[in-house]
Each structure stands twice: as C-alpha cells, then as structure tokens.
C-alpha cells in the first residue's frame, strides 16, 4: 500500500466536529425501492449534515445510484421518507430537487453533447436581456470565466461532445456548483478524471465544505474517500450495513463490510499476483507504426503470450485509440497489425476477431454491451457462427457456453434471460468479459476494465486477468488507475499525443518511473 | 344516334371526337371584347396546359394526348405548348398555373383537380386577360370574367343516365351498391347525387344498400367490392363511378365465383377495358365521359380570338355503350 505520498495530503481538520454539531440537512428513513426482479433498496436510512462530506460506498449494484435517484426525485421510493431541511419532501424530479437546492453530478456524464459548452453550463439558467432573450454574448463570457476556474480554457462555443471526457465532467461539476446548492451529490465524479483534474475537484469540494454545503460522495476509490470524507454509509445488496465516521473504520474493515466477508489485511490493494512468466517466444501481437491522422503517430509495440502489457499515459494520450486501432475499429492511415506472425490486411473488427483479438471498449454502455438484450445473447453475440450450423444457432450450445462463463466469472443475474441493462455495472462488465472470453481469443485488449466497478468485482476482474495471462493469453491493459496499471502489467508502454514516449520493463515498472516518463516527455 | 364506326382507325378517331351536345342557347356567351383580351394568333402563341393527375389511366392519357395532338395539328411549335402535371396535388396545380402565367402563355387550358380554390390564379390571369378554358371539370367561378368557358360533360347527367340504365337492367327492383369515387371530389359528388336522385325518381323499388369509396382506382375498387360482396352477397347491381373501379369489381365478382351477368354493373367513362367488359358480358352498360378535349378546346379558342361569341358552358355529347353497340363501337372507346 504505497499510496501515501501519491497525493499531497491536506487535512480536513476540525470538520468532523462542526459537521456533527450542525442540523441534518437531508434525512432518509426506511427507504425501499423495488425493480422487476431486484430489490435495489431495502429499508435504507441515511443522514447528511451541513458541511459534511459523506461517503456512500458499496459494491456494484449495492444501490448507491438508486438511493441518489430517490433523493433527487428521479425515482419514487416504494416506502420510506425523505426529509430535507427538517420537512418531508417528495421531489417531482431533478428540477424540483435542484430548485430546492440539491444539485447532482450523475455517474455518467449527463450533458448534451451537441450543444455548446456554454449552453450546457447555463441550460435552464441562461442570462437574459431586457427583452427576455438569452444574452448569448454574456453567457459565453461568463461561461469562459467560470470554467477557467476549473482549468478549462477551450472555446465555450464549441459543442461539448468534442471535449475530452474529463473536461466534460468538469463542466458538469461547474454546473452543479453554480446554483446556490445546499447539497451537492457526486456519483463517481472521478472515474473519468486525470490526477490534475481530481485535485481541482477536491479544491472545489473543499470550498463547498467551507461554505457549509453538504456533499454526498460516491466512489470506488478508497484512497479518495479517506482523503476527503468525514462520514460514511455502507450499503450491501440494497441494505444499510453500517453508517458512521469514516475515520473510525479501518480500510480493511470498510472493504469487508462492503463485501460481507472478512478480508485479510495483508493483501495488496490490487489483486494482481505480480510478474507473469512471459514466454520469450514469438509475440502473439505485434503492432508496427500505427498512424492515424491527429490520433496516432507511429505507435509500435508487441505482446508475447502470457504477458500483460500496460498502456500508460494521461487522459487523451491515445491509449483508447491504440486499442481501437489494433481491434480494427479505427481507420488507419498506415501501420501493420500482426497476430501470431500473420498480418491482418485492412484490419476490421470482424477480421481482428477472426484473428483472435478481443476488445473490451472503454465505454461499456455506449460501445460494449447491448443493454436491451439478455445476458445470454450478449455473451453469445461474438461467437454465433461457432455456435451454429449453416447459420442456424444451436440453443444447446449457447446454453453450455453461457453456463460456463456465468459460473466462471460469477455473474450475478436472476437468470441468463435477464436484460443486461438491469444488472449492476460490475456484472455488466463481467458479461462483457464473458463475451470476449467466449471467442477464445489469443489477445485481450482491455480498456479500463475496472472503471466504475466496486472493490469486490475489481478484485475478481484483476485476478481473472492474471489467470488469463497465466493461461497464455496476451493482454493489453489500459487503466487510469496508476496502481492497477503498474501492479497488473509486466511491461508498460507509455504514450503521449498518440506516440510512444517510453517503455518500462522489469524493475522499472513502478509508479515513480511511470510518472517520471510522463513528466519528462511533457517537458 | 351515333354514327356507325368505320373499321379504319382514322375513321374511328374522328368518330370518337367530341361533339357538343348543347350550346346552351339560353346561357350567357362571351366575346373577346367582353373578356377584355387581345387577339392572338394561335399558330404562334404560347399555350399552357395544366393536367391534374398523372397520365396513368386511360382518361388522362387520352386527354393529354388529345391536347398535344391538336396543338401539333394546328402547327403550334412544340416549345410553345407548355404542359405541367400536378400529380394529384392541388397546391402544385395552383403553382403550376401561376408559373405558366409568369411564362407568358396567351391561352390556358386547365384540367382542374378541384372545382374550388382558384381565386389566386384568377387574380393573376384576369389581370393579364389570359383566357382560361377549363376542361372536364368545371371551376366554380364567373364565366367570361374569371374564365372563358367550360368544356366537358355533365357529371350529374352521367349519373342520371347510369341510374336509368340500372333501372332498366334490374327491372326496377333489387339492391344496388355504389363504388364511390375519391372523396371530396366534385365528380364523385355529382355522379352520386345524379344517380341517387334519378334512381329515387324512376325506380323507387331499387334499394341502395352500400356505398363506399373505391378512390377511382382498380385496386381499391376491387377491395371494396370484395368487402361489399361479403356483407351483401345477394346484391343485384353495382354502380361504379368510373371504369377502373368497375374492372376491379369484376375481378372481385370472379373471385366470389359469380358468373358474368349475375350482378349488373353500370359504369362511367368508356375506356376500352370497360367496353370490352360489355362484350364479355360482365358489364351491363357504360356511360361515356369523353376525354378528347383537344379539337374542341382549340377550335373554341380560335373562334374566341376571331371575335365570335363563346357559350359559357360547352357540354359535350357523351356516348353510351351497351350490348347493342359495344362490339361495333369498341374502336371508339379510349
């Protein structure tokens, strides 16, 4: 556990006392919410005080997002009461909640990509001139000013969708804070931020905290929680497990509460076993001089069977692009992709898959799984030709393979026929991995495989990656979590601006080295 | 009544041409002076013709062709006859005619899609004193002010004649179904009212049990007839407001295992297919609605420009076909 010193510590001294003394801002008692087949919340209570940063933690599917949506009127609870500023409330929707002073940053960036940054920031609160018309000039000016405070200097008149994800998240944050909120809810705000942006976010949190705003903070990154949170509420399977001061809880205790089983304190934070026994043999994947206008400039690397190669770099370094290029999903201007020594001509997702490359994209919901289809159909999707004769699928063979992988990855679903959209994030991710593995790949390309999934699922996924590498697969791993990247990878290829700027191997695979390479390349 | 058809097709063509039935002696007339235009030499004039529907069915084909042929015969240069087709869109026809006026046509021949709604066209054409001859459908407006004259059939009269035929076919007793034309169309309205009024008068014993639209199309005519034969299997007569629907009805009758002549069909138009239907025994009678407007339209215009008085309505003589003349006059059908 070498995370001390990774972030400069700044103390919230005296906050807990102040927080405890003040009146509850928001009080939830006995709330339940049932979805078809799932009890997402079961008699949950929760209290938030002014000036408190309250961590809401739990495994994937524990009910965190659901609780937040109940608070903000997106869902109506089946039972229970929500009290705000001492009075019972039932918000008709987010707008209602917002008007009352509860402002939310949702888990997925929830802005309108086609609208300009400024219009997104001010939507519903646009400055107006005497005629009641939106004062566009003033809006743009003010937007630029506000965003400058969040380290964003790009043109606010451009469509939001053209900005990097992290910047979009900052816009969402700025938007949430701009209204005079009493409560700010943040559902995994850091999952797409890079370290510098995380610091900006924490700066904002500190400011809000000093103003006496109550903050609900959801995150799977435990070190973040310990840095900024005072109180904690732990959910498991929709039930309240424990609530109290975070400082009173050991990290190990916290995790075991979340998982519902004891966890050994000795274990490393990630579940990677360490070095893999990478055979010196021929590389299973070799990417040579990949070029794509404005995205990739001559990326070259190779992966041997049984080896995990990490792709490092800051947000926008071109890691996802590299992965997509190898998987045939990004048109290349030039470059060569070889699997087992055989060159893919004009790589397309179809030919890449045939050659044995399986890819797990960064954005699970948009590019990964088909939310409306069942677990079963999702798992079988990529291997249909193999499970069919003359184009007619064999239900039996599908059942077999689905059964195998649901067991192996311990996918929690009420049945193989459950809609994937109704599963929790972690289980959705597992379904996606099951689909990759079902293809019997030689190379796995994993882009942020543990983003937005809880410690339990994360550990399982990490262990799985080890296991697969041990079985002789070549793995390419992208992770914004430096620790995960370092512990999981045998070698790390460092990217910047779409080009390889360094390579860490053997003893060099440490966080310090990684930071060093990134920093040196930047200067 | 009709002259005997010659075997040569040229003879047919002239025999098939329209003849005026009534010059409506009592009716108003119109001269160039009254209308306020200037004399135009048709041989060098530009003429605009606005067709209402696609030239898909025999009536429209014959109508457009007749206008074009006659223009050719008169020696009007091809470029000087501007034709437009509104494709059954009324807005488009209004625009079409406006464009024709802007192009400087000196005579307008219009086959209107609808009888009402021509105010804006009149405003424009009358300012320039462009004579308008409306053919086949009448326009509800002032003759000699808004338009010059109407050449066409009397639709109510056609309905009436159909009713007479139907009465005769059924010996004044039985049940009849009507296949209506397209809704909202004044041809439909008049052919219906003419038929119903006359039937009530001459054959009160005949009951109308069913009236549904067949949209003037063979397909819809067939569909509606099929339905009607299910609801009224014993119907004695079918009055189809155009030949297309009648032909559809015949297919429906065949499908319902009826024999030729089981159900008496009376229809309006006079297309080859329908007249052949009489020969084959499926149709009892066809009332003609003659589409060959070219000669009459241009001769009327010539007379007008020569200063003669033109009657406000030129009602043409429509033939009728039945077993007595169908095979001999088949060549006259279009």
């Amino acid at each position: 556990m070498a995370q001390a010193g990774r972030f400069p510590a700044w103390a919230f001294s005296g906050l807990l006392e102040r927080g405890n003394m003040s009146e509850p801002l928001l009080e939830v008692t006995g709330v339940s919410k049932q979805f078809p087949g799932v009890r997402a919340l079961d008699d949950v209570s929760f209290t938030l005080r002014a000036g408190e940063v309250h961590a809401l933690v739990g495994e994937n599917g524990a009910g965190k997002s659901t609780l937040i949506k109940v608070l903000t009127g997106v869902y109506r609870p089946d039972a229970g009461e929500v009290r705000y500023l001492g009075a019972p409330v039932s918000f008709a929707g987010p707008l209602d909640a917002q008007a009352a002073g509860i402002s939310t940053i949702y888990q997925e960036v929830n802005l309108v990509p086609l609208m300009s940054v400024a219009r997104n920031l001010f939507l519903g609160r646009e400055p107006r001139n005497r005629l009641g018309l939106v004062d566009v000039a003033r809006m743009n000016r003010e937007a630029a000013d506000v965003l400058a405070g969040y380290g964003i200097t790009s043109d606010v008149r451009r469509p939001l969708g053209l900005m990097p994800l992290g910047a979009q998240q900052m816009v969402a944050l700025a938007r949430a804070v701009m209204i005079e909120a009493r409560v700010v809810v943040m559902d995994e705000p850091t999952s797409s931020l890079e370290p510098r942006e995380v610091e900006t976010l924490f700066g904002v949190i500190r400011r809000l905290h000093e103003q006496g705003v109550g903050i609900i903070y959801v995150s799977h990154r435990l070190d973040e929680l310990y840095r900024i949170c005072d109180g904690v509420t732990i959910l498991r399977d929709g039930r309240l497990v424990r609530a109290g001061r975070l400082a009173d809880l050991q990290r190990v205790e916290l995790v075991s509460h979340m998982l519902g089983r004891p966890v050994s304190a000795e274990r490393s934070f990630t579940s990677f076993a360490g070095e893999h026994d990478a055979a010196a043999g021929t590389p299973v994947l070799r990417a040579t001089d990949l070029n794509s206008r404005h995205r990739l400039a001559g990326v070259t690397f190779e992966v041997r069977p049984g080896e995990v190669v990490g792709l490092g770099g800051l947000l926008g370094a071109g890691r996802s692009e590299t992965i997509k290029a190898v998987a045939g999903a990004l048109p290349l201007d030039s470059g060569r992709v070889e699997v087992d020594g055989r060159t893919l001509r004009r790589p397309t997702p179809v030919s890449a898959l045939k050659a044995g490359i399986a890819v797990q994209p960064e954005d699970r919901k948009a590019e990964g799984i088909a939310l409306g289809l069942s677990v079963r159909e999702n798992i079988a999707l990529a291997v249909l030709p193999r499970l069919s004769t003359a184009g007619v699928v064999s239900e039996r063979r599908i059942d077999e393979i689905v059964e195998t992988f649901m067991t192996r990855l311990r996918i929690k679903a009420s049945s193989p026929h459950q809609r994937v959209g109704d599963l929790s994030g972690g289980n959705q991710q597992k379904v996606l991995l099951a689909r990759l593995l079902a293809t019997g790949p030689k190379v796995l390309l994993l882009d942020e495989p543990t983003r937005g999934i809880d410690v339990g699922a994360k550990a399982e996924v990490q262990a799985l990656i080890d296991e697969l590498a041990a079985e002789g697969l070549g793995v390419v791993l992208v992770s914004s979590d430096a620790e995960e990247l370092i512990e999981g990878s045998d070698r790390v290829v460092v990217l910047r601006d779409g080009a390889v700027v360094g390579m860490l191997r053997g003893d060099e695979v440490t966080t310090e080295h990684l930071m060093n390479v990134i920093a040196t390349a930047a200067s | 009544e009709d002259d005997n058809a010659g075997s040569a097709s040229t003879a047919n063509a002239s025999a098939a041409a329209q003849a005026t039935k009534s010059a409506d002696a009592a009716g108003a007339t119109c001269t160039l002076q009254q209308y306020g235009g200037t004399k135009v030499d048709l041989n060098t004039a530009t003429v605009g013709f606005s067709q209402s529907e696609k030239e898909a069915n025999p009536f429209r084909i014959a109508e457009t062709q007749s206008i074009k042929d006659e223009a050719g015969k008169l020696g009007i240069p091809t470029g000087n006859l501007k034709t437009t087709n509104a494709d059954s869109k009324f807005d488009k026809q209004i625009t079409d005619v406006s464009t024709l006026i802007d192009q400087g046509v000196q005579l307008l021949i219009i086959a209107p899609l609808n009888s009402d709604g021509w105010d804006s066209v009149f405003a424009k054409a009358n300012a320039k004193h462009i004579p308008i001859v409306t053919i086949d459908r009448k326009i509800n407006a002032k003759s000699c002010t808004n338009y010059l004259t109407f050449i066409g059939s009397d639709f109510a009269e056609q309905g009436k004649r159909a009713a007479d035929k139907m009465a005769k076919a059924l010996n004044n007793t039985g049940t009849v179904s009507i296949l209506l034309g397209a809704p909202g169309n004044n041809v439909t309205t008049l052919r219906t009212s003419g038929f119903k009024d006359e039937l009530a008068k001459v054959a009160p014993g005949i009951k109308i049990v069913f009236e549904q639209t067949g949209n003037f199309s063979r397909e819809d005519g067939q569909k509606t007839a099929e339905q009607l034969l299910q609801a009224n299997p014993n119907v004695n007569g079918i009055y189809a407001e155009n030949d297309e629907m009648a032909l559809g009805a015949i297919t429906a009758l065949k499908g319902a295992s009826k024999k030729a002549g089981d159900v008496k069909i009376v229809t309006i138009d006079g297309t080859k297919g329908a007249v052949q239907g009489i020969v084959d025994g499926w149709i009892y009678s066809v009332i003609e609605s003659n589409p060959r407007f070219g000669p009459l339209a241009f001769s009327t215009a010539t007379k007008f420009f020569n200063g003669e008085a033109i009657p406000e309505n030129i009602i043409i003589q429509d033939r009728e076909y039945d077993t007595t003349n169908a095979s001999s006059d088949l060549g006259l059908a279009y």
């Binding site: 987010p94 519903g124 053209l162 080009a499 | 494709d87 625009t95 802007d102 105010d119 909202g184």
Partner: protein, 337 residues
C-alpha cells in the same frame, strides 16, 4: 500529410490547419442547401428568360409560404427529437375551418383553425409526453384523425366552404411590391421562430431534449412541457398554413395535403437538421423549402418533363443533397479528430 512526427510544434500546426478545415467544412455543411440552392438558381437564371422575372420570384415565394410554415414547425419538432406526420392533415383541416369560419369575419377565420389545430397538437404532444408513445405512431394516428375530422366537417369532402370575407381573401391574394402578403407574414414568423429557437430558454430546452433526453431530464429541463409545446407549435403553424392557403385559394379545398408531411420532412432534412434531433437551423430549413420549390419551378420552366421523370428528379435531388451533407459531416468529424 501524416503526423508521424511527435514534435509539439508540428502537432500544433496540424491542429490549427484542421481547425481551419473544420470551419470551412462546417460552413458548407450548415449552408449546404443554400449552396445548392444558389447553384440551381444560377442555372435557372442562365437558362430561362422567364425564370429571372420578378413575377416568377413572387410565384415561387407565395407557393413556398404554406410549406415553409409547416417546415418551420417541423424543424422545432425534429430538433426536439420527434417527428410530426399529422401536419398535412392539419393543413387541410385548417383550410376547411378557416373557410367555414370566414363567414364570421377575418379574425374568426384565423382563430378557429389555430385553436383546433393547436388543440390537436396539444393532444398529440400530451400523448407523446405522458404516455411515452413514439411520435411517429402518435402523429400517424393524428394524420388519420385530422383527415377524418376534416371529411366529417365537409360532408365527406363534398362541401367546399367558400371564403366569405373579402378582407380575408384579400390577405391571401393581395400583394405588396409584387410579393404576396402571406410571404411577409411567413418572413416575420421565421424571424420570431429564430428568436424562439436560438434565443429563448424554450429553444434551449428543445435542443437539449433532442440532443439527449436523459441528460436534459437530469439537468432539470421540463421534458414534457417542452415536448407538448413543440407539437402545439407545429399544429398551430400547420393550421395557420391552412388558413393562409384558404385565403389564397378562396375556399376550403379538401383535396390537399397528402404527402405534405414528407415534403416538410424532406425540406427540413435537406436544410441540415438531424432527424435524430439536437441540431438544426431554421436558415437551413428555409433553404430546403426554397430548394424544393425552385426545382419544381425549373421543371415547369422546361415544360416538357413528364410527371414520371419529375418524380425521379425530385427523389434524386433529395438523395444527392443529403448524401453530400453526410459526407461533409464525416469530413468534419475527421477534421476535428
């Protein structure tokens, strides 16, 4: 032109160049319909004497007035992520109502169609917003319903009501400087529409719900009221278009409007508005409407194109413009990385 080099200056230079390309392409794409329109007009002016007359301009403009109004409403609907198939029927219905109501004066002739078609839009919008049925289906039912109502009011289409008020008639046929009054009204309404779409909070909500309904909901946009208002607006404009047309034609013609909805959609799409919602401009819509009108006008200028070929030409044009736009949009995406 590859960016194999990693030197920061080179990247920056490439960035700047790509920004420039992007602007140009964006301009062409946004104004694609306008560009084609200009081209078609030039061809017309060069080829036909009668095309370049002022009269002809007047004819094109007045003919474009009702479709433009319908397309105006349709733009709002499509930007909001919906579609409105009922406009053709509402257009006829509006005309019939206006003609009938004209016996009670000009104001009645405008008010009745606005009220009835507005209510129609309200009902459709409410069903879409509250029952969450697909706009395509709801307005398809609206298409049937409005036409049925129109037929019922006009004795199955047999009765055509004539416009009784001269003032109303005069509005339809009168001209100012050679251009019909309705054209001025349409121009003013487009101006107002632009303010509404670009400069009002309502307009922002329209873009937001079309861009991402879920995001808009979470950002506190009132989805339902925005949706309802969009369909009311579309209904009102279709009714108004019907009224204007009735004034122009002098009667409540019942044989109108079939296929009008598709024409309006085509015009909006040609104008560069995304059918998926969230993006679009009214300037583009005007260009789209005018383009369709001018092509028709040119076909008439030639005067000998058969109706069969006319149809082929129109279809090909729609395909051409839209395909060109899509390619430009793609170019732009590539340029912007």
């Amino acid at each position: 032109m590859s960016t194999v080099t990693t030197a920061p200056e080179a990247v920056e230079r490439a960035e700047a160049a790509s920004m420039r390309t992007e602007r140009i392409v964006e301009l062409v794409q946004r104004q694609g319909a306008l560009a084609v329109l200009a081209l078609v007009i030039v061809v017309g002016v060069v080829s036909f004497d009668s095309f370049r007359t002022f009269d002809n301009l007047g004819t094109v403009l007045i003919s474009a007035a009702p479709p433009a109004l319908i397309a105006l409403g349709m733009t709002f609907v499509i930007v909001s992520g919906g579609i409105d198939l009922s406009v053709g029927s509402l257009y006829v219905l509006g005309g019939v109502l206006a003609a009938w109501a004209s016996q009670y004066g000009t104001w009645a002739a405008f008010a009745l169609p606005l009220v009835v078609c507005g209510v129609f839009g309200l009902v459709q919008g409410s069903i879409i917003a509250y029952a969450r049925l697909a706009p395509f289906i709801v307005t398809l039912a609206g298409l049937l319903g409005a036409r049925g109502l129109m037929l019922a009011l006009s004795g199955e289409g047999a009765n055509t009501y004539l416009v009784r008020t001269d003032a109303f008639k005069h509005f339809g046929t009168g001209e100012l400087g050679g251009i019909g009054y309705p054209v001025y009204l349409v121009a003013v309404l487009f101006g107002a529409g632009m303010l509404l779409l670009y400069r009002s909070r309502f307009g922002q909500s329209v873009y937001a719900i079309g861009g991402s309904e879920d995001a808009a909901r979470l950002m506190g946009v009132r989805i339902r009221s925005t949706q309802i208002r969009v369909y009311v607006l579309s209904g009102l404009l279709a009714g108004l278009a019907g009224a204007i047309n009735a004034a122009r034609l002098g009667s409540g013609v019942t044989v109108l409007g079939t296929g009008m909805e598709l024409d309006a959609i085509a015009a909006v799409v040609i104008g560069g508005t995304l059918l998926t919602g969230g993006a679009g401009t009214l300037g583009g819509t005007i260009a789209g409407v005018m383009l369709l009108q001018v092509i028709q006008n040119l076909i008439n200028q030639i005067g000998t194109v058969t109706s069969a070929w006319q149809t082929v030409i129109s279809g090909a044009f729609i395909a051409l413009v839209v395909v060109a736009q899509t390619y430009l949009a793609r170019l732009r995406r590539v340029a912007s990385g």
